[in-house]
């Protein structure tokens, strides 16, 4: 009886590994042009503690959701000297003509001849169309507007254009991703391409995808933008952190959005 039991266990075990392999195959690869092109793309959520992951998955429990609602309210509220709201130009709800626009940022804007972030675009509209003051990059209102717009693009893959006039920024982002920085001389890729899934202190290294940003940090009890997250990484490698919207960070955001373009947006996220 014992050998038969053993064999059946082995068959079960073998079946388990086969199904695990099948599951792997369902995951998209990183783009062929990356150094880690054999890497399977894994969403950031999978590296989170279970409780945080559950919090993000439940819109009623997700602490970033009040920001989405605040952003939605702000969308239709007139502001600035022109007496207009976002809705006056773009519409609202199903008729919002830019409801999926967030997925295409960072984006090249011909008028300024550079690649800009969603935050910069929002302030562009505020200053030109609304004739309102720009929102500080780390303000609650900016967090609300970006959380709302990114939420509208939820389940869509990032649709960034890295061709034409955006090429130079994109290539710079790729270079920065692999550039060793700081006193510790570590590149983004060394941790996020090579060591994802392993524990750095109490946290598990992810693959560094931007899909769930902006996120609510449970520890800091506030919203954190992608560029603020970059700053934290820079501090960990003991490099000099750059200001939000610095050209290097815009380039890095463009590269990361392209690299994870087969993973849908899950914003707004929750992080420890």
């Amino acid at each position: 009886m014992q050998p038969i039991l053993g064999v059946s266990f082995m068959i079960l075990a073998a079946f388990g590994s086969v199904s695990a392999w099948a599951q792997t195959d369902a995951r998209p690869h990183a783009p062929a042009e990356t150094q880690a092109s054999r890497m399977r793309l894994i969403p950031g959520e999978e590296f989170l503690p279970a409780a945080i992951r559950a919090q993000q998955a439940d819109d009623f429990d997700n602490p970033a959701f009040p920001y989405v609602e605040a952003g939605e309210a702000a969308w239709s509220r007139p502001e600035g000297a022109a007496g207009k709201s976002c809705q006056d130009c773009h519409g609202a709800g199903e008729n919002n003509t830019v409801r999926h626009a967030a997925a295409s940022y960072p984006k090249y804007l011909p008028r300024v001849n550079q690649v800009i972030t969603l935050q910069t675009r929002i302030n562009f509209c505020r200053q030109n169309a609304l004739q309102a003051s720009p929102l500080p990059d780390s303000s609650e209102q900016m967090a609300a507007m970006t959380a709302y717009l990114r939420w509208l693009s939820r389940r869509l893959p990032p649709a960034v254009d890295v061709s034409g006039p955006a090429t130079a920024t994109f290539e710079k982002g790729r270079e920065l991703y692999h550039m060793k920085t700081g006193l510790l001389q570590l590149s983004c890729g060394q941790c996020h391409d090579l060591k994802f899934g392993q524990n750095f202190g109490a946290e598990t290294l992810s693959q560094g995808h931007p899909q769930s940003y902006p996120v609510f940090s449970v520890g800091e009890r506030r919203m954190i933008s992608l560029h603020e997250r970059f700053r934290m990484c820079n501090q960990l490698t003991r490099a000099e952190a750059q200001p939000v919207n610095a050209p290097d960070y815009v380039a890095l955001e463009l590269y990361l959005s392209w690299r994870g373009k087969d993973l849908p947006i899950t914003a707004p996220g929750v992080r420890p």
Binding site: G16, G197, Q198, N199, F200, G201
Partner: protein
């Protein structure tokens, strides 16, 4: 590639063996195993750490400071987030009361008996001498705080502490 396959095989074997013996894996551990066996990532196990670092390779026989280090201070250098911050990547069982120990590098248990002072010093100053593939940074460079994570004295203190891990 052969090496890669071998690692995957080891991961599969250890996970399935574990599940056979215990048959009641916790959900988290099962998920962890599944991730490993699925090849999402290959974890380098502590077993891979060589017991004898090649003596042919360069090592740093003398103290960087001309004086031996202090193991008490070395412990502080190892733990401090602003100094060595070694626990972000390495586990030390002797310090298990400190939470949040990482797992990117091997556990440091027993390094004091495996390696001599010169080898430990060399690993801290330039780990790639012994481990060409490592992402572990160099912790000491000539040129002061602008380029060096630790001071020469801190390296010696750290060596003294690591020697106590037997």
């Amino acid at each position: 590639m052969a090496k890669l396959r071998m690692y995957i095989f080891i991961a599969v074997a250890s996970c399935t063996a574990g599940s056979l013996v215990l048959s009641a894996l916790s959900g988290a551990r099962a998920a962890e195993c599944q991730r490993k066996t699925a090849g999402f990532y290959l974890e380098e196990t502590n077993a891979g750490v060589p017991h004898n670092l090649s003596s042919v390779l360069q090592n740093l026989p003398g103290p960087l400071t001309g004086a031996p280090g202090n193991s008490e201070r070395g412990r502080e250098v190892l733990v401090s987030r602003q100094k060595g911050d070694c626990l972000s990547c390495h586990k030390v069982s002797a310090l298990s009361s400190i939470a949040g120990q990482g797992g990117i590098g091997p556990a440091l248990d027993g390094v004091g008996s495996k390696y001599n002072d010169a080898q430990l010093r060399q690993v801290l100053v330039e780990p790639k001498t012994y481990f060409p593939e490592t992402i572990m940074p160099s912790y000491y460079r000539d040129g002061g705080a602008a380029v060096s994570v630790l001071t020469a004295a801190e390296i010696e203190d750290l060596v003294a502490y690591l020697k106590t891990l037997r």
